[in-house]
Amino acid sequence: MSTQVTTPTPDLRADVWSRKDLTAIEPLSVGELTTLLDTAAAFKTVGTREIKKVPALRGQTMVNFFVEPSTRTRVSFELAAHRLSADVINMSASSSSLTKGETLKDTALNLQALHADIIVLRHSSAGAAQFLAERLQASVINAGDGAHEHPTQALLDTFTIREKLGRIAGIHVVIIGDIRFSRVARSNIQALTKLGARVTLVGPPTLVPREFEHLGVAVTHDLDAVLPDADVVNLLRIQHERQRKEYFPSLGEYTALFGLTKARAEKLKAEALIMHPGPINRGVEIDSDLADSGRSVILDQVTNGLAVRMAVLFLCAGARHD
């Protein structure tokens, strides 16, 4: 029988989270990011209980409002809300009146009139979540707004790195792929640099413009040169739906230059992590066997996404904001 007890640190962060919404990583302080990650660590253990449900948000209603298609993020938020005892309504673009010409704001006001307490929004326009957050009493959580931000994805990536490697500060993270159009990359760059990681972006010059250097990250177009120095490689999905021909080489050319093949993976440190936000294009961004290998933490990211989203819902909706 273990008698190991971690002595609690004095609670000096009494006011570290008082936000109603999570619309972006960019405005968050290091203290707020740490609070989110620590809270997620506590919520992760709920999944190991006999009863995987806590009453924290009992009586609250969460609306999953996905104007852009998504399965994994929507399901992850839905399960997170269920685990916190909130009620969930799912709305997609096709089932909403947006297709009938109703504006985003009017649709949202209607949701609020139904006493929705939390609105999780995925939208093709950058700033859509912030737009609603400023106009509604409900907590608004950004589940991806255009090419702007996808904060919960960055939090779960950061959480997974901290869990596996024990820290974020000083870790070298290489993000590969379509950075220009990637909200995942933008949110990750914000979270990682705030917490002291070193970030290198890799991809074709059309998709990884040098302008990103002003965010405090390195930019290179030579993947083979950076792999030996990487602690984490995060492979972004090639977003066929957002690509335009002038930016993107052929898939074959992309894989040859920027795909994580078995030969490239040999250049990685033994303990380096392979991450991917999913869904994977097997054989394009990553070799199929590598995706299933022991160094891939892709499924850990999915599990951690649930804990992170519980933490976000709890922190934003678990206090009064009047």
Binding site: M1, V5, T7, D15, F43, K53, A56, G318
Partner: protein, 188 residues
């Protein structure tokens, strides 16, 4: 639940000093041993934040007196509170640390101050989502009265009659960087 490492304000009255706290904890440790012949099945589970320190100290004392190393752990109550919407800042969520199997165990919940009883209720709810212990007992350093639920402590360091507008403060050297003390102040 609102730790603040400040020493007693002028005019505050000290209820227990470091020596009195130590005596109270030693007595409670003896009472736990007396009430629970099968000590190996006892787990001391602290309610954050200062209940965790009390569980740790009681476990050390029981180890001294009986040579049985009892489990000392933590139970998060933040996820089980019924007053989330009364506060502007969400409560701190802690990692729960319990024995792997609760079946047949005696859980002794520990906390610094027993007041409304709502925290104890949340802790019992939380424990029951992990399993079904044989019994749950409750140890507190100070019982200040004013219960809002039908809850009573099995082990009490000191009963302190209070008025509703008074506040009881508990500080431990291990968590607050000032010497062990319990004192009372009036909210202005």
């Amino acid at each position: 639940m609102n730790p603040n490492p400040t020493p007693p304000a002028p005019g505050a009255s000290v209820i227990l000093d470091a020596a009195a706290i130590e005596r109270a904890l030693r007595r409670i440790a003896h009472e736990i041993i007396e009430r629970n012949p099968d000590l190996a099945k006892v787990a001391l589970i602290g309610i954050p934040s200062r209940g965790v320190e009390i569980a740790r100290r009681l476990a050390a004392l029981i180890g001294q007196f009986s040579a049985v190393q009892v489990f000392a752990g933590v139970v998060d109550v933040a996820m089980h509170r019924d007053d989330l919407h009364r506060h502007r800042v969400p409560p701190r969520v802690e990692r729960t640390i319990l024995p792997a199997d609760l079946d047949g165990k005696t859980i002794v919940l520990t906390d610094d101050v027993l007041f409304s009883g709502r925290t104890c209720r949340a802790a019992m709810d939380s424990i029951s989502s992990f399993g079904r212990p044989a019994r749950i007992q409750y140890a507190v350093l100070v019982d200040r009265g004013h219960r809002e639920l039908p809850i009573r402590a099995d082990y009490v360091g000191k009963n302190v009659p209070t008025a509703l507008h008074e506040r009881v403060h508990v500080r431990f050297a291990a968590t607050d960087e000032i010497e062990d003390s319990v004192w009372m102040s009036r909210t202005p």
